[in-house]
Amino acid sequence: MRCTDIYIHPSLLGQGLMVRISFDGVTGMEYWANYSMTAIFFLLGLALPAAAFTVGRWLRPHHPSAAKIITYESGVDPFGDSRVQFHVRYYLFALLFVIFDVETVFLYPWAVAYDTLRQDVGLFVLVEMLIFVLFLFIGLIYAWKKKVLEWK
C-alpha cells in the first residue's frame, strides 16, 4: 500500500474537519476513520446527557414528597393499573411493519445495483422485483379488505 495523500484541515468553514488519509485511492485507514467517527458521535451523544444530568444533580433541588411522586392523572388519585391490555390492532400494524420493512431490506441493494444489473440481464431485473413487490402488495390489499387498516 502506498500513501497517496494526507490532508488535515481543522478550520471550521469551507474545508473539511475530517482528516483524509488515502492509500491507493480508497482505503482501509479512511474506512476505519469514517466508522470510528460514527462511534465518536455515539459516545458524544452519551456524554452530553451524562454531563447534563451530573451538573443538574449539583444544581437542582431534591425534595420528594408523597404527593409529588404520585402518578399524574389530571389531579385525581390514580386508579387501577396503568399497564392495561392493548387493542390487538397495534400488533397487526407491527406485523405489517415487519413485512414491509423486510421488503425494503431487499429493495435497497436492488436499487443500488439496478443500473449494473439492467446492463447485464436487461429488464428481467425489473420484472423480478415487480413480482416480489406484487406478492407483498396483495398482502396489503388483503389487510385492506379485512379492514385491518381501519382505526376505530
Binding site: 475530517m18 467517527m37 455515539f42 452530553l48 437542582r60 402518578t71 443500488v112 425489473l126 389487510a143 381501519e150
Partner: protein, 324 residues
C-alpha cells in the same frame, strides 16, 4: 482513535445545540408572526436568550421520578431517544469536504439508527406507569413504524437514480438535476412521512396536549424532559439536512450561481426546509388518528411503491431516462 478526531464532532455538537436553541426561538417567533403576535421578546434583544433561559430553568428544576415508575428505564429512556438523534448527524454531508463519516451505507445508517428513537419513546411511556404516557407512547410507536415504511420506500427511486447509498455520492449525482424534479412523487411521500416521523403538526398525535396532556413525556420534568425535546429538535436538524441532501441537491448551486460558497447553498436550502416545517405547523390542524393510519398505509405506501416502478420505467425513455 486519536484525540484530534474528537475536535470536529465536539464542534458539531455545539453547532447542533446552537441550532436547536435558535430554531425553537425562530419557531416561536414565526408562529407568533403568522398569528399576528410578536412572539418572545423579553429575554435579551429580540428575545434571543429566551431558549437559553428556558434551558437554565429546566436545569434547575427538580427531577421527579414517580413512585410507581420503573426507575432505571425511566431515567434511561431520554438518553435512548437522544443518542441516535445525534449519531445520525455523523453521516450528513454539508459540503464535499465537510462530512464527518463518509461511509458507503450512509443513507441506510441514517434510517436504521433514527428508528432506535422509537424504542426510547416507548420505553419512556412504559416506564412512567401512567395512562396518558402509555397511550401516547403506543400511539407514537404505531405512527412512527407506520410512516417509516413509506419514508424508506420513497427513497428507493433516489437510490436507483444515484446508484449509491453514500450521501455524498447522492449529492454528486444531482449536479445536473436535483432529484426533487424527477423524483417528485418520492419527494412528496418522503416529506409527508418525515413530518410524521418527526411527530410534528399535523402528525403530532403522540403529544396531543388537549387529549393526552403531553403524551409519552407527561411524567418527565426538568432535564429529562429537556432531552426528549432536544432529541425532537435534533431530528428536525437531521431530517431537514437529509431532505436537502436527497432531493434539493445538497451543496450544489441553483442555476450555476457558484459565487456563493457550497456551504451557504446548503444552509439556504436547509433553512427553507426548516421554515416550511414551521409554516406547516402554523397552518394545518392536527389530523385524526384513523386518518393518520389510512393516509400512511392506503395512500403513501402504494404511492411510494408506484414511484419505484415508474422511475424504473422512465429510465428506459431516451432523453429523460438519464435523469432517473
Amino acid at each position: 482513535m486519536q484525540a484530534w478526531m474528537w475536535l470536529g464532532p465536539v464542534i458539531m455538537l455545539f453547532v447542533v445545540l446552537g441550532f436547536v436553541t435558535l430554531a425553537i426561538l425562530f419557531e416561536r417567533k414565526v408562529i407568533g408572526w403568522m398569528q399576528s403576535r410578536i412572539g418572545p421578546n423579553r429575554v435579551g434583544p429580540w428575545g434571543l436568550f429566551q431558549t437559553v433561559a428556558d434551558v437554565l430553568k429546566l436545569l434547575l428544576k427538580e427531577d421527579i421520578v414517580p413512585q410507581k415508575a420503573d426507575e432505571t428505564l425511566f431515567k434511561l429512556a431520554p438518553v435512548i431517544a437522544f443518542v441516535p438523534a445525534f449519531a445520525v448527524v455523523a453521516v450528513l454531508p454539508f459540503t464535499d469536504s465537510l462530512v464527518f463519516a463518509d461511509i458507503g451505507v450512509g443513507l441506510l445508517y441514517f434510517i436504521a439508527i433514527s428508528s432506535i428513537t422509537t424504542i426510547g419513546i416507548l420505553a419512556g411511556g412504559w416506564a412512567s406507569n401512567n395512562k396518558y404516557a402509555l397511550i401516547g407512547a403506543m400511539r407514537s410507536a404505531a405512527q412512527m413504524i407506520s410512516y417509516e415504511i413509506p419514508l424508506v420506500m420513497a427513497l428507493v427511486g433516489v437510490i436507483m437514480a444515484a446508484g449509491t447509498l453514500n450521501l455524498s455520492g447522492i449529492v454528486e449525482a444531482q449536479k445536473e438535476m436535483w432529484f426533487i424534479v424527477p423524483q417528485f412523487i418520492g419527494f412528496v411521500v418522503f416529506f409527508i412521512a418525515s413530518l410524521a416521523e418527526l411527530n410534528r403538526t399535523p402528525f403530532d398525535l403522540p403529544e396531543a396536549e388537549s387529549e393526552l396532556v403531553a403524551g409519552y413525556h407527561v411524567e418527565y420534568s426538568g432535564f429529562r424532559f429537556a432531552f426528549f425535546m432536544l432529541a425532537e429538535y435534533v431530528y428536525v436538524f437531521a431530517m431537514s439536512a437529509l431532505t436537502t441532501v436527497l432531493f434539493l441537491g445538497g451543496w450544489n448551486p441553483l442555476f450555476g450561481f457558484t459565487f456563493l460558497p457550497p456551504l451557504i447553498w446548503f444552509l439556504l436550502k436547509f433553512s427553507l426546509i426548516v421554515f416550511t416545517l414551521i409554516w406547516i405547523r402554523a397552518t394545518l390542524p392536527r389530523i385524526r388518528v384513523d386518518q393518520l393510519m389510512q393516509l400512511g398505509w392506503k395512500v403513501l405506501l402504494p404511492l411510494a411503491l408506484f414511484n419505484i416502478f415508474l422511475s424504473a420505467l422512465l429510465k428506459e425513455i431516451p432523453g429523460i431516462g438519464s435523469y432517473y
